[in-house]
Amino acid sequence: MLDLGLLAFTQPWLLATLIGLPLIWFLLRVTPPSPKTLSFPAVQLLLGLEPPEETPARTPLWLILLRMLIILLIILGLAQPLINPTAVLPGNGPVVLVIDNGWASAKNWDSKMNAMVELIGRAEREERQVVLLPTAETSSKRRTIVTAPLPASEALELAQGIQPHPWPIDRMNALETLQNLDLGSSAHVVWLSDGVADAQSDAFGQSLRRVGSLTVLRDQTGALAKIVRPPEDDGLELVVTVERAASNAAETVVFSALAEDGTVVAREPVTFEADARLAELRLQLPTELRNRVAQLTLENETTAASRYLLDESSRRRPIGLVTTGGAQQSQPLLSEVYYLERALEPYSEVRQGSIDELLARELAVLALPDIGNLTPEEQERLSQWVETGGLLLRFAGPKMAADSDDTLLPVRLRGGDRILGGALTWDSPASLSSFAEGTPFAGLEIAGDVKVERQVLAEPSLELGDKTWARLSDGTPLITADQRDAGWVILFHTTANTDWSNLALSGLFVEMLRRVVAVSQGVSDGNADRIPLPPLEVMNGFGRLVAPSADVMPLPAAGQTETPAEENPSPGLVVSASHPPGFYGEDIKQRVAHNLADQLPELEPLGPVIGASAASYSKSEEIDLKPWLLMAALLLALADLLLSLFMRGLVRPQLPSAATILIGLGVSAAALNAGDAHAQSLIDEGRALEATLETRLAFVMTGTERIDAISEAGLQGLTRILRRRTSVEAGAPLGVNIERDELAFFPLLYWPITADQRTPSAEATRKLNDYLNTGGTILFDLRDPSATARIQGQQSQTNLALQRLTANIDIPTLEPVPTEHVLRKSFYLMQEFPGRYAGGNLWIESSNTQTNDGVARVIVGSNDWAGAWATTELGRPILPVVPGKEAQREMAYRFGVNLVMYALTGNYKADQVHIPFILERLGQ
């Protein structure tokens, strides 16, 4: 390698061939260009003719220079010059690449990959061997692999196969395998770190130092991976904590909650304050949306820890409300069920039903109003459910007071109830005393106006004080709770309705219930099985859910993945190569989320390793000029070839100009299109408002000014008549450009056909078809009295134009308007449909009640109705009617009225036709 500072040549010996250039120069000079050859019959006459002076034929100088340049470029290119060559790797033994490919490395993986490839490229140039050491476990059974010293090209193939894994790295383990290798004394170690420190990272760095000279590559602290910590549900909001490694500058990341199918349920920015490592997001979602959330992710983060998976256990807790038995009352608005439902609904999902029905599904809380005696089976079932984690919320009442033998109570009750403040008592109704610290209600504000008139009393006992969560002002327990195994039994010593107290009317009741629900353990289906859960979907290194590979082992048991992070999780449940994060379970309903973030320690950036040089993953400035030089040489050689051909007259110079024209056309067409689209978006909104705020008649603009003016005047005249005679109060008619405008706003389109209209484009045709298929009606007017007699024929100009314009439009089967057709009766009774001309046939879609509400989509005629309808501003007719008589114009107006009625009312008018028959039948 020849190093010239800014420029270096990898194959400098090739530069020696530059000596040969002058020789080539000489050779190129002596060869004259070959003459063009022409056959010529009159060559006899040319024989002997000589030009007066013979200038020596030589290759032009510029051509020689061009060819010299080509050769120069090839030689320089083969010598492989490098701009800004990177320094030589230290040492001369093998190059050891230690690659952190755990979860945190997925962030900026590409730059790590580039660095790896570049390092291997440098090793290849220096002809050094390469050792690859990924620090994360591989997904297969084998432990971390280290390669033997490999030639660089082989190492490159292997390196390109290295992928980040969604589990943590195990650096010391990797180190052991490295130390088994004999690397000589002058190895160079490059540690492509993920920038995240762990307990072993310092020791690991020192050990690498002992292997050889060490370079540590790491990302900028701000660019390290972030973690979405397990969310907490405080009943109202979902609190998500996001953690970052660095704590220097303020930073905002975008957080989104995704549903099962990947749709975004919520998307909020999360802002890290400067110097804060944690950022908190409170996500307030309606229950339905809240329960759809399946993943919490950070946008632009591609690590397994930036995506937190939610399963059934973190759903908002469903609450069962027992509505059978005594709870069902004749006055539903006074029933306990009603009050409970209203109080629970804001924060939880409430299900109603009998105990059996409710327990058949997963349930967090079962609210049991005072329904009287439970059967032994029900008691048995309930207590079993409570022991496996359920929360049973009971309310006292007359029935409970009458029968205190119930075992499903937190405390033993005295028989009977206590009445405060009745007609026969001295006491006044008691209010609540403030909530004691340590109870779930701590911190709630007491509503002063809450009065309890009646309650059930607990038998005094030693543990009564511990079990009491709320007391009345006189110290008697109002709410008691008892934990049984994993579950709770909680009793409100008063009713859930207003019979015994007005607690149920206060906002405090809602808050108290919310706290109670928050106590529950989440869903418990009462029969937690202990079978291993097979993997359903697991994350890959970039945090995307993929189908699990065969190496993924089932999770040992369900229900235990919620183990909080601070406790030491059992080894089987740690995220590892055999248990990558993801969903586990038999099916989607019962799956369990296995999250990496649960077990990750606090995120800390990797500190500098003493005695090692540090660098970042920024791309090196080295540029290899070889391909560019060779490409330039190739292009010049092609140019030279073209020039030689041109000089011999074999290529004509027109070709490039044709190409230029083509390119120019393409560019200008693109520019035109862009301009058009821009203008269109500006028009649309105003026009849509204009078209929809009033019912409007519309006509298709033909592009012929005179005809468009008549169409507009005609529809204006018809609108005036409609306003005067019918309840149709339409706005001023609008002209429609079928290429550009939206048609959907108009119930009826009047389309005068002219021979010189432009054929609709594919887009316009599609719009017209949509319009016809979704309720539109088009009246085609041929404006030519002779046309419709041969409507399927070939004869008249307008007929041809109609065929051309509607070539791709789905025109249904047409027939002359039947004698009993609605169009003849929708307002006036009509036999003929004259316009400016009389007599022509009117063709209409053959009646088909299936489509478009029975209204014909297409009506074709030739009588130039707009011409007959057209009036000036003062209401004077513009055009004469043929054959004459104003009576014909009146009939034309009547046709217009009938048509608009028909288009607007659809089969309503068709039904009117049947009225005589209906009346006749009713009369019988």
């Binding site: 003459p35 063009k36 022409l38 056959s39 010529f40 019959p41 006459l45 040319l46 030009p51 013979e54």
Partner: protein, 288 residues
Amino acid sequence: MPIQQRAEQIASALPPLLVEAEHVASTVAQGVHGRRRVGQGETFWQFRRYESGDSPQSIDWRQSAKSDRVFVREMEWEAAQSVWIWRDTSPSMAWTSSPDLPEKRRRADILALALSVLLIRGGEFVTFLGSGIRPSNGKTTLERLAKIIDHGDQDNAGLPPVMPLPRFAQVVMISDFLSPIEEIEEVARSYAARGVKGHLLQVVDPAEELLPYDGRTRFEGLEGEQSWLLSRVESVRKPYQQRFKAQREGLQSIAQRLSWGYSSHRSDHSPNTALLALYLAMTQDRGR
């Protein structure tokens, strides 16, 4: 388009030629265009009353027997001659300087056939020299001639073979006449010695007349001539054009000396002009 059609198309555009020919015919005792009068021939012309001095052999007895008078049958005077057309089929004719122009050979073929059409329409006996077909004025002759042309045979002789032709036959030679003047004169003389009238029609390409090339160019002949390399063609354009003119003047002087016709045609001009000129030359010749 088949060559016959094309030739007929060109020929049909020449009615004024026939008018002119008719005018000539009234004064010329020979040839087809002068035959609308009594004379020796085979075609019936008219009956007329016998007058003293008429040969008794000329009395048509059948006609005379139909009435009391004696009628004489008169025949139309007819003295058609044969025209022998020769067109150059050497490789040098199969050449054109630009794809927009027809080959000289093609132009020569069209002219030959168009001339045949005109002549046959006028009743002349026509054939191609060396084709082996007897001169005839039948419609089929035209087709046979067209077939010969379509066959497209080529030979290397730049000049017609000297063949014994009947006296007073006419020979039309269509060629680029780029052979040495002496050789052309020798052939023409040997025909003229037999009393054959002739016409020379020189068909040339514009490039042959103008030499519009420049630069370093090697010229190669089409008939195996020596090739010639010119470093700058533009510098020899003038002398070449003089040589070409000399060739043309040589041809003209041959025609003058033998009182033959000579005309020249460039393939970028309309063939009709050339045909008219040629035909005029032939008909005027008759008038002499």
